[in-house]
Symmetry: C2
Subunit: 290 residues, 2 copies
């Protein structure tokens, strides 16, 4: 857990409690992408948030890039649900230090991208789950995020497009690695896919969410965003959804600050950042009523 | 058909062909709302479009407001599909006058709100339908819009939320009137509902669409936008979708220019206008490749 804690000062209010955000980078549960970490946290910190980047457990451990040309590991134990425990523990850490760090504990958001979005959504639907309570021996409410921000997140592995083999050979290989990381099997059973699909567990207790995606995402199909939004609508949980017509998977902030090359610079999609900041500000302004 | 045709001049290009947009106001097929007409057309005209407002056939004729306290009319002939013929005819009129008005006939959008959005979407999925070809005796391609802009549009009458009775007594009465206008019956059969649901007819021939809605719309449920977007995604037709967390049904441009009272001023949702203008500009910039 990497922390970016803006200083308080007498000039802006010595006792000001700040909202917080935990950023969960993507990386298919194989690694955590630097492109969806520090720069995103700094963008939030620049808006007055206490910002955290969670380097959750992944199957390639602390490696930050994965070489997909290596041999596919054999079927074995999945890294899941370790990442969910890591995120739950991060919530406890922030709540445990709230007095010292001056965190407003009614205003803790989780912002995730791709697999990190899956992780954020999973905490959003399972914060009151028995397995978390058993593991940490505390009330489920301690784990509940107050808002979710989901970027091109995987939310339902049973969707038609998620069950199909990808067209691109690189994506086939990525998917095989990712399935191993997630399920411990290159060909998981339908029950495993369902159990790992947060869209299927949305309830009235799920926190409000800001969801964004691109319609032509070739790695995590846009139907993931539509499925999660539909589940939120069915449960009458507040949400906002922005699907942009075109953009690669993994755009992060869509500008130079996170782009590895020019393909990841996309001003049309980049409006999500401002929309999300405004949405969070509105939500957190009225958190008392929630 | 009300026309707003910006002048050409030697200074900005004497022979410049302009894109065009047909604005279809909402009004539940009972009337056509002034709040979703001229001001919307002027917004497009201000961006260099030839803009048109279509006052299509409605069951209260040229009345522009409906008094819902009058007796419910008996079951009878629906006004539908007259509005679809009206819109098809508007396409022919614009294409027929393209030389004189200097319209770029590869760049004709239809922008509709609520029932007008249903109408726009219906032309989007049925432009090549036998009934239009029979009625006008021309090739279906003459009716095809190049892009759709759908605001809080009804797209699927078979959705759970669309089949339920509304909670609000005013909405129950509005729905009864609207069903009569649309189907000629206060309680239409499932087959009628399906046949009138454009989301169920999306194909690879459907033009690209910009779709927006509010998540808490109490008149046309947000699942209408999600269903249409899902159908577009399944057919791999380009689309953009913006669902804002909160806003009344009928926001139109969301600002003073179209608000009857303060409840219809909503800057958070008002960003749709700029997003739609930019989306259309991008689409029409690449229309040749379509």
């Amino acid at each position: 857990l990497q922390c970016y804690l803006p200083d308080n000062s007498a000039e802006i209010g010595a006792d000001r409690r700040r909202p917080a955000v935990i950023v969960c980078p993507g990386g298919a549960y194989l690694f955590t992408s630097d492109r969806e970490g520090e720069q995103v946290a700094l963008r939030f910190a620049a808006q007055g948030y206490h910002a955290f980047v969670l380097r959750y457990s992944t199957s390639f451990g602390r490696q930050r890039h994965v070489d997909f040309t290596v041999d596919l590991p054999e079927d074995g134990a999945s890294v899941y649900p370790k990442p969910l425990f890591d995120l739950a523990k991060a919530m406890l850490t922030i709540r445990g230090n709230a007095e010292q760090w001056l965190v407003d504990t009614d205003k803790i958001a989780v912002c995730g991208f791709s697999a990190g979005g899956h992780l954020a959504a999973s905490l959003g639907v399972h914060w009151d789950g028995q397995h978390l309570r058993d593991k940490f021996g505390v009330d489920g409410a301690m784990f509940k995020p107050n808002a979710l921000v989901l970027g091109y997140a995987a939310t339902d592995f049973t969707l038609k497009k998620m069950m199909e083999q990808p067209a691109n050979p690189d994506h086939i290989r990525l998917k095989a690695f990712a399935q191993l990381a997630m399920f411990g099997a290159a060909e998981p059973a339908l029950e495993q896919l369902q159990a790992a699909s947060p869209a299927q567990f949305v309830s009235s207790g799920t926190p409000p969410a800001f969801i964004w995606h691109t319609a032509d995402d070739q790695v995590v199909d846009v139907t993931n965003a539509l499925a999660f939004a539909s589940a939120m609508a069915a449960q009458q949980v507040p949400f906002e959804l922005h699907v942009f017509e075109s953009g690669l998977h993994g755009l992060s902030l869509c500008d130079e600050s996170t782009a590895g090359d020019a393909r990841f610079i996309n001003p049309d999609c980049g409006v999500w950042v401002d929309l999300a900041m405004k949405w969070l500000r509105r939500r957190f302004a009225t958190a008392k009523e929630m």
